[in-house]
């Protein structure tokens, strides 16, 4: 039975995973709770269970993960546990010491979610996604690139944030590339929140960091997908002023390739060709590629946001 707080069914919690319903035995605070009152069956399950230490017939073995031609992905993290992902809809977790370790939710919402999307034939980018003039713009970069804070700066100006950290893109259509709304829950450092005028009192901490918090942007998460207009590669701590440079050809392709989430795992799962083909498909669909040079600090991010919004169209 669903509680008024939403999403909790006994020990199972329900979350929204880019339009899919995820039932989980583990707390996943980075994901929005399932808020549809309808008793829909789960599309994806994340259960506690027994996970083998190796796959029966692995065709790729890396130091911490294995894959099989059957589409299985096994992650073995000493100190954390073992996680098996199958067919893009079935996650089994065996924590090493019984209770869920503190970093588990980050791993499940991050690389494991990315593997799940790869298995489903979609392209997860290491990106926060913002809607500008009705179309999606993916702000890409690694963990310290400032993509969430830049998204927060844009959200403060009224722009709709539809994904944080993982931006799921569908390149399978013949003419359009679509971004799937994930959630508007940003993970921000205390300094960024203070700079944005947001009090951290009452905000939930984002594990495993002590000084990082979840911040929900306003607005309900839409179900409909957005046409992807641009992929923006963030380069942090650049010399001022903020600059926006258009990327083309191999430079643009490499920028995109480098922001594909968990690409080594994806390649092991046989996704090398679709990942390679993602750039030509995006270019054909008219997606633009930019590099945004972001100076240090919140002032630098604000200046970068202004540059991004002033980008020439077409």
């Amino acid at each position: 039975m669903q509680t008024p707080a939403g999403g909790v069914h006994g020990t199972t919690r329900s979350y929204r995973l880019c339009g899919l319903k995820l039932d989980s035995d583990f707390d996943l605070p980075a994901l929005p709770e399932w808020d549809d009152p309808a008793e829909a069956p789960a599309d994806v399950s994340c259960r506690r269970g027994v996970v083998p230490s190796c796959l029966k017939q692995p065709d790729y073995i890396a130091p911490i993960f294995q894959t099989s031609s059957a589409g299985e992905y096994l992650l073995v993290l000493p100190g954390t546990g073992r996680i098996l992902v199958r067919a893009g809809n079935d996650i089994t977790v065996e924590p090493e010491f019984g209770p869920a370790p503190s970093n588990l939710s980050t791993i499940l919402a991050g690389p494991i979610q990315a593997v799940l999307w790869h298995q489903r034939g979609l392209l997860p980018l290491h990106a926060s996604v913002v809607v500008i003039e009705g179309r999606a713009v993916a702000l890409c970069g690694d963990g310290a690139a400032g993509k969430s804070t830049l998204a927060a700066v844009l959200a403060a100006q009224g722009y709709h944030v539809i994904a944080d950290d993982i931006g799921v893109v569908d390149t399978r259509g013949s003419e359009e590339v679509l971004a799937t709304p994930g959630g508007a829950r940003l993970q921000l450092w205390r300094d960024a929140l203070v700079g944005l005028g947001v009090a951290t009192d009452g905000l939930k901490r984002a594990p495993p960091h002590q000084e990082k918090y979840f911040f929900d942007c306003r607005g309900r998460i839409p179900f409909e997908r957005y046409e992807l207009a641009a992929v923006v590669q963030l380069v942090r701590n650049a010399l001022p002023p903020a600059r926006l440079v258009r990327l083309r050809g191999a430079q643009a392709a490499n920028a995109l390739y480098n922001c594909v989430h968990s690409q080594r795992s994806a390649r092991a799962l046989g996704r090398a060709q679709p990942i390679f083909a993602a750039f030509p498909r995006m270019a054909f669909a008219g997606v633009e590629f930019w590099r945004l040079m972001v100076p240090e600090g919140l002032a630098g991010l604000r200046e970068a946001a202004a540059r991004l919004l002033a980008a020439p169209k077409g």
């Binding site: 050809g249 191999a250 430079q251 392709a253 490499n254 390739y257 690409q263 390649r267 090398a272 060709q273 390679f276 083909a277 750039f279 030509p280 270019a283 054909f284």
Partner: protein, 105 residues
């Protein structure tokens, strides 16, 4: 002839002689966008772009051929000095070999 970031491939250049057989790497992925051919070696995980002249050379590497044959055909088609073409193509092939998209044997 190539676009994007490239290295000079100087040490490989000296390995390319007239009888060197030049072939496409079997593990290369390619796609054509506008007038540019994009390619990536599965091992090296980096896109490599060729402009229309580079793309023309790429198309002539299937089936494999010797470096001398390749230069002869290019010199005939472009009506250009063989030595100049050889120098440019040798440098391009060296870079492509370093990027894992062609093989030299």
């Amino acid at each position: 002839m190539q676009t994007g970031d490239t290295s000079d491939g100087a040490d490989v250049t000296s390995r390319i002689a007239n009888l060197t057989i030049v072939s496409r790497s079997p593990s290369v992925l390619t796609a054509e966008i506008d007038s540019e051919v994009l390619m990536m070696s599965v091992e090296q995980e980096e896109y490599f772009g060729l402009d229309d002249v580079g793309s023309n050379i790429w198309k002539r590497l299937d089936p494999p051929c010797t470096f001398a044959d390749l230069i002869d055909r290019l010199a005939a088609d472009y009506d250009a000095d063989r030595e100049n073409i050889a120098e440019d193509v040798r440098a391009l092939l060296a870079t492509m070999a370093e990027r894992g998209v062609v093989r030299l044997a």
